[in-house]
């Protein structure tokens, strides 16, 4: 082999990101195969969407709502369409099996960072789920009569911001959900771990009740937590109830939380692995 040929082969060594991109892509492609689960999810999400919109629009008719009825509809449909990007309870069954059987430790025989590896696979799985569910929900909900209709944001800039916020929401949700997997690794009770974390995140992110409906004092506290950017920020940007300029502070706060939660989760995972030696033979 000539020198130039071997140089080009050396240059072809995959980048340090290749392992994580590979894991991400594999989960994404596999996730797209779960169509029946997605179809069932879409049906459930329409049902929930109608109930939530009915309830909160009733508040609006009584003059008790901080959001107008059309904002409520867009908020709820966006939430339902991208639910698997932003809820903690959307779990990776295979990863949970690895954790409860103790096989998780064997993942360490690969030359990759375990936290980054899990992060990549969870993000891939969530994107696959969202890709299957979001379009049918948004397309159909876009055809509903007012005030039930899913509407586009007021302008293109706001739409772009809402998409950025959705990406931040997905990144934050994965980093928060990883704490449930880490807790499961310590307690070996994945169900308990998710039961602890998922409802907390749902309430604090505005999934059960949009945050503007909550008492001011409580709302001001919740707006400081990482959960806010997991749903409230993208859904209210999209529905137009939050202006672009008002979104800067929550954006910065969400990003700051991400920069805290990722290293924290990484440290927690390696501590949990050390605490849980896998005995055997």
């Amino acid at each position: 082999m000539s020198a130039s040929a071997s140089a080009s082969v050396a240059a072809a060594r995959p980048s340090f990101l290749a392992p994580y991109l590979g894991l991400f892509r594999t989960r994404l492609v596999r996730g797209l195969a779960y169509r029946a689960a997605a179809a069932a999810g879409v049906a459930t999400q329409f049902f929930w969407g109608f109930i939530m919109i009915s309830v909160f629009q009733a508040f609006a008719r009584a003059g008790l709502s901080p959001l107008d009825p059309r904002e409520i509809a867009s908020y709820v449909w966006l939430q339902q369409a991208f639910l698997v990007l932003v809820v903690v309870w959307f779990r990776d069954a295979e990863l949970i099996r690895l954790i409860t059987t103790g096989d998780a430790a064997y993942e360490l025989v690969r030359p990759v960072d375990l936290y980054a590896q899990w992060y990549a696979r969870l993000l891939g799985g969530r994107l696959a789920g969202a890709a299957l569910r979001s379009l049918p929900i948004l397309l159909v909900a876009g055809l509903f009569p007012e005030p039930w209709r899913f509407r586009l944001p007021p302008d293109l800039a706001q739409a772009g911001l809402a998409f950025l916020a959705l990406a931040l929401a997905a990144a934050l949700t994965v980093s928060v959900s990883l704490f449930a997997y880490i807790l499961a690794l310590v307690t070996l009770q994945p169900y308990a771990a998710f039961i602890l974390l998922a409802p907390l995140a749902e309430f604090c992110s505005g999934l059960l009740v949009p945050l503007p409906f909550l008492p001011d004092a409580l709302r001001r506290v919740l707006e400081l937590l990482p959960f806010r950017a997991m749903l409230d920020l993208p859904a209210r940007l999209w529905s137009g109830s939050l202006t672009a300029s008002d979104s800067l502070r929550p954006f910065a706060l969400g990003l700051a939380w991400l920069l805290v939660l990722v290293p924290l989760g990484r440290a927690a995972l390696s501590a949990a692995l050390r605490a849980r030696d896998v005995p055997g033979g």
Binding site: V9, P14, R30, Y106, P111, G280, G281
Partner: protein, 265 residues
């Protein structure tokens, strides 16, 4: 290639007694017992050796393998493999070793085997050309060609083990840990696995550490055995030498008698 000195590892195991009363009291006063898995283990392995690492269930074999493959941190002692301490430089260390754990899979369960291999290429960051060459050699040597399109979950144990062996060597390591690679395999697959390991050792100088309960694996492959019992090394030398006084009884019975005499059965 491998230098292991005075390796110690104890596990804390939660003790549970039978009955409702005991279950309730363990909520308040959990009882722990300490299991000494490795009680000062030392050995060294030279490049190109095939070492059979044997001993009864619970002797500490898998624990040693886990320490050497960087997934378990010992309590004390040292282990240096190719100049690195596995648990201190884990990523650099594992990039240069292969490992097959017979009772677990390193293939992705619901993904076609070929995709698992492709993913391993990304994970080990192997150049495409080198990967292709190594891949084709390994697949051919193990007759795994027709298995590539199936997901791991639909393979039989023997088929899966062939794919596991391909997977463990795709990145071209010169050291391979095999933890019970022939467990549950039929005669044909067992022979295929043995022949393959012998060939990789002969032709590429692959160093192999093999744990197994199948004495025929040891007989066929290992020129040297290390016997571990209750966390200590009891013998290190030739297999024939180990069984010499009992040879006429057949290897299986001879080994069982030896375990009995050593009080480690």
């Amino acid at each position: 290639m491998i230098e292991v000195r005075e390796l110690r590892k104890t596990y804390r195991v939660r003790r549970r007694r039978a009955g409702l009363g005991a279950a309730l009291s363990s909520l308040v006063h959990p009882e722990w017992s300490v299991v000494e898995a490795l009680a000062g283990v030392s050995f060294s392995v030279a490049p190109g050796e095939i070492v059979g690492y044997i001993g009864p269930n619970g002797a500490g074999k898998s624990t040693t393998i886990k320490v050497m493959s960087g997934i378990l941190v010992p309590d004390s002692g040292s282990c240096v493999i190719k100049g690195r301490v596995p648990w201190k430089e884990r990523k650099a260390h594992v990039a240069g070793i292969g490992a097959v754990f017979g009772q677990r899979t390193q293939l992705w369960w619901d993904v076609p085997v070929s995709e698992s291999f492709e993913l391993l290429r990304a994970i080990y960051r192997v150049e495409p050309a080198a990967f292709r060459k190594r891949h084709d050699e390994l697949v051919e040597a193990l007759g795994a060609g027709e298995l590539l399109g199936s997901p791991a979950r639909s393979l039989s144990l023997g088929q899966r083990m062939r794919c596991e062996l391909v997977a463990s060597l795709l990145h071209g390591p010169d050291l391979l840990f095999l933890d019970e690679p022939t467990i549950g395999l039929d005669a044909v697959s067992k022979l295929a696995v043995r022949d393959f390991i012998a060939r990789e050792n002969r032709e590429r100088g692959l160093t192999v550490i093999l744990t197994t309960h199948d004495v025929h694996d040891i007989e066929a492959l290992a020129t040297r055995v290390i016997l571990i019992g209750r966390g200590s090394i009891l013998f290190d030398g030739g297999f024939a030498e180990l069984l010499a006084p009992r040879r006429d009884k057949g290897v299986e019975r001879a080994l069982a008698e030896l375990y009995g005499e050593l009080g480690i059965a």
